[in-house]
Assembly symmetry: C2
Homo-oligomer: 145 residues x 2
Amino acid sequence: MVTSPEVALRAAGLRVTKPRVAVLDVLAEYPHATADLVTNQVEAKLGRVSKQAVYDVLAACVDVGLVRRIEPAGLPALFENRTGDNHHHLVCRACGLTTDVDCATGERPCLTPSDDAGYLLDEAEVVFWGMCSECQLKWRSPRPM
Amino acid sequence: MVTSPEVALRAAGLRVTKPRVAVLDVLAEYPHATADLVTNQVEAKLGRVSKQAVYDVLAACVDVGLVRRIEPAGLPALFENRTGDNHHHLVCRACGLTTDVDCATGERPCLTPSDDAGYLLDEAEVVFWGMCSECQLKWRSPRPM
DNA sequence: GACAGAGACTTGACTCGTTCCAGAAACGGT
DNA sequence: ACCGTTTCTGGAACGAGTCAAGTCTCTGTC
């Protein structure tokens, strides 16, 4: 997804507005941004923007597939602009740092359950939980709790 | 996990109290219960219980590994008492119905990412998203939107 | 270039799930 | 039975996200 926000928006049939472009710019810069971070960064570019506008923009982009929303347990929702492939995520239990991993097997749904229990499945979401290298260091060294 | 709640609690080093036993009973009956459902069901057994007590009990049980907490995106947290194995979940996008699936590969972590990016991983959480058989019927038949 | 209507944005109140706090009650080892 | 610890109660508070109503701004058309 190297197209510019303007082109991507138009291609998706969405109107091109300043907030939308700004949101997509932010996502290009921060690959796993919370709604809150997006709001702050957009405000840094445009001045005051309502949080509602940010949620609307994000929802619209998620709807048309420009943005993907992930919600690791215990963390606020994260938004990312990498949507074409079916990649997965590594999440740090300590600090929440989230990193992409390419899907081991290739295309979606990359996994199939032993038994689908009658469900019509369209996606296998994989989250790898662990501790990022930075937090491993922090927790290994003696520190006051 | 077929041991009785009392035995399980004691084995885990937790005190045996009526609310705790009741919570575990409820989880035995409802394999994927929300905190709210647990509260209602416990109240049906014991009379008034504070929601704080329920959250405390659940948190204590999660801590000692008697209960597992899962948080599918968009749904309130679900609690389940099946903790020994490393099974995964099928979640219906339409109604939220959650069903267990045995892990395809066996033991934990059942998957390894193509690249661990320096993380020390301990769990691969897999959620299969789709539509349960009941919702497939509902959506296939003509219905007013 | 101006216009109109659909779509997008603002403001502010509100819901929901969850957590925090202080004090009261219950448990269980001695 | 007693006492210290742990657990439970009730209520307030929090953060993320949603709803509703009104205003503004794109964009296609004249």
